[in-house]
Symmetry: C2
């Protein structure tokens, strides 16, 4: 385990990363950008690429031995004990359309365990952050999963077509029936809302590592529970994760709903 001082120092640096990528993203939004479809049909913009390049160069300058895993570019130093995991824009289609609920995901894992994590929302002006043993924060103020009442339960789900990728759309339908008050948001926005207790829980299937790079730590530091339902390496060689997280009692209830079909 790392010393608290080292975690604090990494947490401070991660906050600088988030602030600098936010400034770059907002300047691109003002100045104009272009977008294109990737081979998997999803969108990538010049903002995604510029933000990931900026984050990588800042990390390489400060911590040249650290590894980097990013959605848009090649992995760096895959054998390092420290792995920065980056999704420069989660919700690219929202960003491209002027819908403000996209975000930047930054996580640092040490020997596979999350140490610091950031979910930044440039167009909302809200940064969620967490450091192992330091707590979870919204714009610097501590958050707890109990900050809001939980009745009626409001559930966050990934979109149905994402569940369908692993033939799990039945789970989407089952949970929709049990939790009529549903929200379907992109990862970054949904996971932050779960950490501050706005959503009772989130069920996210078929995530890649950068989608959830900050989530487990943020949820646990906010006093919630993060559980993996399953994980596997898909046909493209990339690992997928299906998770439930939020208030402990709801996470348990959802786990048993899923287990019992």
């Amino acid at each position: 385990m790392l010393a608290k001082e080292e975690i604090s120092s990494l947490f401070t640096f991660g906050g600088e990363l988030a602030a600098k990528s936010r400034a770059l993203i907002l300047s691109h939004l003002k100045g104009g950008f272009t977008s294109k479809e990737k081979s998997d049909g999803s969108l990538v913009t010049t903002v995604d690429l510029a933000a990931e390049e900026l984050l990588r160069s800042l990390i390489e300058e400060r911590y040249p031995s650290h590894g980097i895993i990013g959605e848009e570019l090649e992995n760096r130093a895959p054998d390092s004990e420290y792995q920065w995991i980056l999704d420069p824009i989660d919700g690219t289609l929202n960003l491209a359309r002027g819908i403000p609920t996209y975000g930047t995901i930054i996580g640092l894992h040490f020997r596979g365990d999350p140490i610091v994590g950031f979910l930044d929302h440039p167009s909302l002006g809200v940064l969620y952050s967490a450091g192992k043993g330091l707590g979870a924060f919204r714009n610097g103020e501590k958050i707890h999963i109990e900050d809001f009442p939980s009745s009626p339960h409001v559930l966050g789900l990934g979109s149905r077509d994402i569940f369908a990728k692993s033939k799990d759309e039945g789970i989407f339908d089952l949970l929709s029936k049990h939790f009529p008050k549903l929200r379907v948001y992109y990862d970054c926005f949904a996971h932050a809302l779960a950490a501050q207790g706005s959503l009772s829980a989130v069920v996210e299937f078929n995530s890649k590592i950068w989608d959830i790079a900050a989530t487990e730590l943020l949820i646990e530091e906010a006093g919630g529970k993060f559980v993996e339902v399953k994980s596997w390496v898909d046909s493209d060689g990339i690992k997928r994760y299906s998770n439930v997280f939020g208030r402990s009692e709801i996470v348990e209830k959802i786990k048993s709903l899923i287990a019992n079909g």
Copy 2:
């Protein structure tokens, strides 16, 4: 038809209403509030009531002869040619849970025609406004429905259980298949996103007058199309409206999809 000077003056006053209700809402969010369930199962908070009371008192002071229709309180001067239509908090459950995509809807109709309209988003810091013949605006800057590209189409739908109220869930399912890139947001946020072209179109069934009080004008002043699919007086004596609005070509396409089932 009203003179342009009168519309401008009403537009300015409406902007003051929005600014004052926003300040009140944000101060309640900081200071704390309570909520309770209404007879229809939906939520109302002390913020909803305080905001509607503030808006009413400001209107009564400035325009004592004008009518007022609000979601939470009794109608005033129902025979006036001028009718202010108010939904102080659209998306009360979001507000109560700290989810920032709720909003305030303010419209003024003259002899049944919309003259000025406002969709304010206090927690996002964004006001959408429109005046008949004056244009549509986002924080004071002109918006046009062509401001964003429309491919791939992103469709906004009311939630499926709202469609089910008039046994129209088949329409939700039909449109979900034709437009896989779906967003399900509350009225105020969705309608504003349609007006700035972020969503290609929005299909909203079973609306009450205050849900759409500002929408038709905002969409039309932004260069889009607003059509009614049907309207009727429901068993509770309150009129319901089912509408499609956004980019003209998509609105036409959706109309014919709905007509041909």
